[in-house]
Subunit: 600 residues, 2 copies
């Protein structure tokens, strides 16, 4: 089997839920068609299955090694990445002029989902490279683009994000890496970075580090951060590798999962000769980096969703095939055991997984479509609206799949029982791999502060207003379709979320940020659940309509009934937990805020 | 640091919450004193720290190897186990006459908690041996006791539980291993067992497998299961190893965690010469095995609690020492970063962990004291009451710490962030190790069916009535102490649990077991939360009284304030989630029950 995704589901999400074909009317995508979309997706499936999946477990068991000088990686990784680049996946979204395909993000993300499902570690290398190429395309000078973009897009150069420092962690304003201007316009970079994924490896001819550093004269904090291109090999006038730059890996971090991709400690300028090239204006580095970071956050969400999805499919297959026990009413021990999936509690665990992972994938693809609209919609108002909504959604797209994808993997192990705990089945690796996602690119706590402390209130909360209007629209459709019970439940939850949001907005002014934001992570969770419940109700409406409209085949009917049942599950089982969370938020419940360090 | 447990907490639980000293008035324990208890605990701490902790990570990194013939294990394990046995921990609870110490279970469990915290894998070997020795002491014949008990108690023989078979899993009634009576009174055993922890190793002179098998003439299902002693080496008349029995390890299972203890596939009777010795009566095997299993379930709970506890202490230490970021109100980037623990969201993650792990440890020690009362109370009514309550609590003692100890480890990783995801810190191993606990000795789903389908209704639900009376008593004390708010919250939750329980009792009769038990896992979770909330309220009452009574030292005051604050956290943050779960239960919500296999 080794299914990477339920194709029926992907098609439903792309074309029924998100109407990806509507993008074809935008001039930017006009050369595409449903056929080019589907063909590209089919190639992704094929390469992911043939070149990524087979070495996923091996790359985990035989992680990259550092001998003090260079890094070695199992031989299967490089040809997989060559196939990936050759098929055009790194360049997919770039302009035709730059050698790209002008593929919509929603389709590129659909393709990416196969690679994340098959092998998240190997998929990490081109994922970072794609994000780096987008940043350079957006903010670097023409000559920098000419130097680096072609190599990045065809996979000769890989990219990294070099933000974190050993003593600084999430608090970027405290970073210490320094940049000293040279007479030739370049900078000398000096400092140490840590947890740099793909920070060194033998997989590409060159590596471009996008490094945050502080120019000597810069103001303190986040306002004094600049962005530099620091290549592993300095380029000559023909954009060929000329000489080794003074950036060195000094160690690998050994992780619980995601072991196939190196996580490195990098020293810049140990010999005082590390050259870096300023991107854009000084002290604007964080703003540029957020271009990459936001994309990375959405990518992390998609990766988390797909690791969750892979585990779900594995546990579903196991539950359908494994005979085990009897229903409680059956006391006849000579009767045949039933399949695991016949036990209601196993169905509960599968339903929870399905609701998390298909819901997360829907959310990530929704965000990708917002990216497309915000970049390429011919209508300015739609462009702005998409930009605002994407901005609001980003912390949720990062965090919901990370938390619940990992929870899905936990349930997948439980469905398999003792077998799931062994390395003979893929679910334990999924669980270990996915556990990184609630941490990197901003922890869940950071996302919560971003949402409740910042995103909600930008542009006069227009994005939140948009969300409420979108939900209202879905509620009306649901009532028309006869889905009254889940619509009523979602309406109640949404109203309560809106009420709490208003109360917190006031509290920010009257009680100050420390107390008001103390329970932000409960808000992030509640907000995420409402969004996911909304996406499930939308799916149920579409499924209900399709069921009544068509003479659907039996397998199609079963699929649509499953969508409706899962929407019921999510809205009646998972969503109502927010009422308690929102009450704690409205009360500004002080129990965590007032706990003292020495009371533990 | 490497603290294995908060000593102040352990003392509080043993002597303030559980009044372990009250056991000294029982004849069975009369030779003991607070001093002998504390001395034994101190030895456990010392041996655990010196001989168990140092090789915990190494045993994980270098797991046992099987070369097709024999198994090798890192050299640190054997001397650790020799120290453990020599100090008398295996024999602790046995009769003086058998070479034991007649130590109460509550004290033996307190000792065991240090070993589980330090190194759960190595602690697993004597844990199984202890359980096997208790079963043999309770049910084996005098001559069997004479043969095996001395070796088990001094650590020359180790024990196992051999229940699971490859195609059978949790459904013991379907097991196929056969036992054929021989003329000498012994049996020939034939079959395969899987997931047998400590099933083979070079750590002891001999291994005694307690094997469930079916005598050829036995009835089908669980009523036809008998219990056999199957030693690795057959003994001669002097209880010395005489010849190798026909039981062979054919493979090791490679687990995600708990790697230091072998998990084996065992073949019995490949050469048709595997000798087994019937314990007690034929076809009563499951009843005997449940003696071992119930003890194992409580031990699994304690192990899960302590792996959670170790992770909690690690993350607490990190959060207290690591400077990171500033409070939201502080926009001065030149100000000094605060410690991680100053962030409310980090305190939330620490409070949740503290509530889970200290609550779980309280529950396990409470169960251990019930074991003491049920075995040694001089009053028959107390004995019976303790037996009933322990019976009711067993699935909760097994499952609550397993689920929430693992959740605590998840939060510990999150507190450490990127560092927590690396193997340089102990928390990722805790997370992997603990994930076994919701699976073995009966999955959470099995425990849920045991509680809602069986335990609740036994003896006319007297045990549940006892629990309600115990909670009522604590509520009255809490109100007297001024803890009105948490008492009111717990009362409301308890009343609702009682109402739902009655409704489900009726539904079992009217709707049948399949539909009524479909959502049993929600009941198990709700029930567990009420019990833990009750134990927290009890602790808060004691803490409040101690605070007002004494001129407590500052560190003692801080500790007591922390107990009260954590009780508030648990009762106001975690407990109220049950109302939604209980509503689903009362509604016999059919969403999982009615989901169809082909709809996924």
């Amino acid at each position: 089997m080794n299914q990477l995704i339920n194709q029926q589901d992907l098609e439903f999400l792309l074309y029924d839920l998100l109407d990806a074909e509507s993008l074809l009317s935008h001039p930017h995508y006009q050369d595409h068609s449903r056929e080019t979309f589907d063909a590209f997706i089919e190639i992704a499936d094929k390469i992911a299955r043939k070149h990524f999946l087979p070495h996923n477990a091996k790359a985990d068991a035989e992680e990259p090694k550092f001998d003090g000088d260079s890094i070695s990686i199992i031989p299967e990784v490089q040809p997989a990445l060559e196939e990936y680049a050759a098929a055009g996946f790194i360049a997919a979204r770039h302009l035709y002029d730059n050698g790209g395909m002008q593929m919509p993000a929603v389709i590129a993300s659909a393709c990416q989902s196969f690679f994340f499902s098959a092998n998240p570690s190997t998929a990490g290398y081109p994922f970072l490279t794609t994000a780096a190429s987008n940043l350079i395309a957006a903010f670097a000078s023409e000559s920098q683009k000419n130097q680096y973009l072609p190599g990045l897009l065809d996979g000769r150069i890989f990219g990294t994000m070099a933000l974190t420092e050993p003593d600084v962690g999430s608090s970027l304003g405290d970073l210490k890496t320094s940049a000293t201007a040279q007479t030739d316009g370049s900078y000398l970079i000096k400092g140490q970075k840590m947890f740099i994924s793909a920070g060194d490896h033998p997989l590409s001819e060159n590596i471009v580090h996008l490094v945050l550093a502080r120019i000597s004269t810069a103001p303190a904090g986040v306002k004094g951060i600049s962005l530099f291109i620091v290549p592993k090999f300095l380029l000559d006038g023909n954009a060929e590798n000329a000489s080794r730059n003074d950036v060195q890996v000094t160690g690998l971090l050994h992780k619980m999962g995601y072991r196939g991709i190196t996580s490195t400690v990098l020293n810049f300028g140990d010999k005082n000769s590390c050259q870096g090239f300023l991107v854009g204006e000084p002290n604007q580095g964080l703003m540029y980096m957020f271009k990459m970071m936001n994309e990375a956050r959405i990518g992390v969400g998609l990766g988390a969703a797909m690791i969750g999805y892979r585990g779900y499919l594995s546990s579903l297959e196991y539950a359908r095939n494994r005979p085990q026990g009897r229903l409680p009413s059956n006391r006849d021990s000579s009767s045949k055991p039933v399949k695991l999936i016949e036990h209601a509690d196993v169905r509960r665990m599968l339903l929870a997984q399905k609701s998390y992972v298909e819901g997360s994938l829907a959310l990530c693809l929704y965000a990708a479509k917002l990216m497309d609209l915000s970049e390429a919609s011919p209508e300015e108002s739609e462009k702005l609206a998409a930009k605002q909504l994407l901005n609001l959604f980003t912390p949720v797209v990062k965090s919901f799949p990370s938390t619940y994808g990992t929870k899905a993997n936990d349930l997948a192990i439980q469905v398999l029982g003792g077998s799931g705990y062994t390395r003979d089945y893929p679910v334990e690796q999924c669980y270990r791999d996915n556990r990184l996602n609630p941490i990197h690119e901003g922890t869940e706590g950071i996302q919560a502060l971003d949402l409740l402390g910042r995103k909600l209130w930008q542009d006069n909360s227009q994005a939140f207003g948009q969300l409420l209007a979108l939900i209202k629209d879905t509620l009306q459709q649901a009532e028309k379709t006869g889905l009254v019970k889940p619509a009523t439940a979602l309406e109640k939850a949404t109203d309560r979320l809106a009420r709490t949001t208003r109360a917190l907005g006031k509290a920010l002014a009257t009680e100050g940020p420390d107390k008001t934001l103390a329970n932000a992570s409960l808000y992030l969770d509640s907000f995420g659940r409402v969004v996911i419940a909304w996406l499930w109700l939308k799916q149920a409406v579409i499924a209900k309509n399709k069921l009544s409209e068509t003479n659907a085949q039996q397998s199609q009917q079963a699929f649509l009934l499953g969508k409706i049942q899962t929407a019921s599950y999510y809205i009646h089982w998972e969503l109502p937990e927010i009422f308690h969370l929102l009450q704690l938020l409205e009360d500004l419940d002080p129990v965590c805020f007032e706990m003292q360090a020495d009371w533990f």
